[in-house]
């Protein structure tokens, strides 16, 4: 059984790159000691998801825009997440002079 190949690149190449990006992002979220760096990790993970969605759209179902709608909403969610997350970090930094999430063990400031 031959695989569908686009311009000489099979689908699983994209999937593996996306998996790599996702795992690097995951490490960023879990392992960094800085809240902004953790959010950067989240953005990397969202990008990996987008690569997967567009790859599947292009290879499997290019005739329906379902995946594209998902990608657009991931864009929206990523923007909203970055906006609110960074606003929170700035606010917390103003009050505690720290962006280390481990130090945020109080319920209020």
């Amino acid at each position: 059984m031959e695989q569908g190949i686009l311009n000489g690149i099979p689908l699983h190449f994209f999937l593996i790159v996306a998996a790599g990006l996702f795992c690097i992002g995951l490490y960023g979220v879990l392992g960094r000691k800085n809240a902004i760096a953790m959010l950067m990790g989240v953005e990397l993970m969202l990008n990996a998801v987008n690569i997967n969605l567009i790859a599947f759209w292009r290879y499997v179902r290019p005739e329906t825009p379902a995946a594209l709608a998902f990608v657009a909403f991931v864009f929206v969610v990523a923007a909203a997440e970055a906006a609110v997350g960074l606003a929170l970090i700035i606010s917390v930094y103003r009050n505690t002079k720290s962006v280390d999430p481990e130090k945020l063990d109080q319920m209020k400031f």
């Binding site: 593996i16 990790g41 594209l68 960074l86």
Partner: protein
């Protein structure tokens, strides 16, 4: 496998994307991390071009590089002095292990040569959510995909609801972020603190009243 121009570009882009992403999660300097994040986004836009979805490549540049990265850089600069902090937390090694394991698992799953792995007992071919995993042809697409996508966003039977909800989500996100991030005048903050203190005192009084004379209060409530 034949080597075409596209495969070479794909390899280069993959190296750029993954390399800069690794730099992002390991560097000590947050500003450099933000710049490398931009490079990674750029590489991902290149991957979209290879996937022949030019609109999303440009959208990636517009939204991720033009907007979200700017937010990140502003946040890095507003939380100044945090440029060189400890890179990793205590669970970093465990996190690395988990990430590598996850990567290995995904590679095993998407590896198309391992046809013998069956997701369910008795399943003859990997079928995930109605999409046959093995497909034979890749159809060509036309430029009308943007049009199709745009029409589906405002089509009541397609993605109209999520589209409007996206607008509401953006609204709420902006309102919340503005409320959290804006610098309030000291007088405003003081007034709010006084209000909170007054509320707390009132609460305490009520509790004391409950403690000293529970029966009467309960009786009063009952009537």
């Amino acid at each position: 496998m034949t080597i075409t121009l596209q495969t070479i570009i794909f390899a280069l882009l993959s190296v750029v994307v993954l390399g800069s992403a690794l730099f992002v999660v390991t560097t000590r300097n947050l500003f450099h991390a933000a710049l490398m994040l931009i490079l990674s986004f750029f590489g991902v836009a290149g991957l979209y071009v290879l996937l022949e979805s030019g609109f999303f490549a440009v959208a990636q540049v517009l939204v991720y590089i033009g907007a979200i990265s700017i937010l990140f850089i502003f946040a890095v600069m507003l939380t100044r002095g945090m440029v060189a902090m400890p890179r990793v937390n205590a669970q970093a090694q465990l996190a690395a292990l988990v990430s590598v394991l996850l990567f290995v698992v995904i590679v095993v799953i998407v590896n198309p040569t391992a046809l013998s792995i069956k997701v369910l007992p008795g399943a003859s071919e990997r079928v995930l959510g109605g999409i046959p995993w093995q497909f034979t042809t890749v159809t060509t697409i036309t430029d009308s995909y943007i049009k199709q996508f745009g029409a589906s966003l405002v089509d009541g039977s397609a993605y109209l609801l999520p589209f409007l909800l996206a607008a509401v989500l953006l609204d709420i996100a902006l309102a919340g972020a503005v409320q959290v991030a804006r610098e309030r005048r000291p007088a405003e903050v003081l007034a709010e603190r006084e209000l909170m203190a007054a509320e707390a005192a009132e609460e305490q009084q009520r509790e004391q009243a409950l403690d000293t004379a529970p029966e009467t209060v309960l009786a009063a409530d009952h009537h």
